[in-house]
Structures are given as C-alpha cells and as structure tokens.
Amino acid sequence: MTDVYIAVAIAEIVIGGLLLVRLARGPSVCDRVVALNTLSTQATLSLLFYSAFADRSIDLDVAIWLAAFSYLGTLIWARFLERGLL
C-alpha cells in the first residue's frame, strides 16, 4: 500500500512539471496564475501522500499551511493584476 502512496506522490510532481511548462509558455498572465495555483495544489497533494508513505503525521501541518497560503497568494496575484499596485 505504501508503494501506491509514493507512486501517487511522484505522479503529482510529474504533473507539477507539466504545470511548470504551462507557466513558462502561457500566452497570457491568467494562464500563469492558474498554473501557479494548481502547482500549489499539486504540491499539497503530493505532500499529503508522502506523509502517508513515510508515516509522519507532523508533515500534515505543512500541507495545511500550503493549502491556506496558496489561496492567499492567488488572492494577492488577482489584486495586483487588477490594480497594478497592492
């Protein structure tokens, strides 16, 4: 079962690599913001599955922080793109 957990964690990082490609090639800035937010979500999921693989429940705190603050980061981006200044 732990093989499944680490395989899912690796697959999420591979998806993160695809999202980095979208962040590099995205024609508009909206594509890049969405790619960045999705990358944070994929990192959170990978972290959850890695903590299940390594059986360390203290890593779940980092997943909670990452989920909460990736939302805040996207909010900052939206405000910056709307006004040009925070």
Binding site: I10, I13, V33, A43, Y50, D61, S70, F80
Partner: protein, 93 residues
C-alpha cells in the same frame, strides 16, 4: 525505498527548472511567479528530506511573502516608469 529517491530527484529537477525560468522569462511578473513556484517545490523538498519546520518557514516566506514584496516593488516602480522597456520587459507581455 527507490520511490523516495525518485521523489527527491524530481523535486530537485522542478526546483532547477523553476530557477532557470526565473532567469529566462521575459516579463517581470512571470519571473515572480516562477519564484513562487520555486518556493512551493522547495518546501516540498524540505518535507521529503525530513525538515517540516523549515518547510513551514519556506511556505510563508518563499512562496507568499517574497513574491508579494517583489510585486509591491514592481508596482511602485511601474508608477514612476512609463516606458516598460526601461524595466527590461517586452511590451507585449
């Protein structure tokens, strides 16, 4: 245990890719987004290597606070500089 090393090297490859993107992307806001992506994956690498307290600091500082500070600085500069070529940016981005 090989899965651990695969995850480790994949995180390293993603961090290197994001760092190269910071240097190569033509617009300033896209480079700041690449900085944020690098901080996110770096926090994941900290967790994989067994340092969740460093990962806490990296999530807050590297993924959110540092890009926000860069955004504030770029926004303040843009209010003074009207020709975006002076910032080293392309006009169409």
């Amino acid at each position: 245990m090989t899965g651990f090393w695969v995850l480790d090297y994949l995180c390293l490859a993603a961090i290197l890719t994001a760092a190269v993107l910071v240097l190569r992307l033509p617009s300033l806001s896209s480079a700041v987004m690449a900085v944020s992506a690098m901080g996110t994956v770096l926090s994941l690498l900290f967790v994989v290597l067994g340092a969740p307290d460093d990962a806490h600091a990296e999530v807050v500082v590297g993924a959110i606070a540092l890009p926000a500070l860069f955004l504030i600085a770029i926004g303040k500069v843009r209010t003074d500089v009207h020709d975006r070529g002076d910032l080293g940016e392309r006009e169409d981005l």
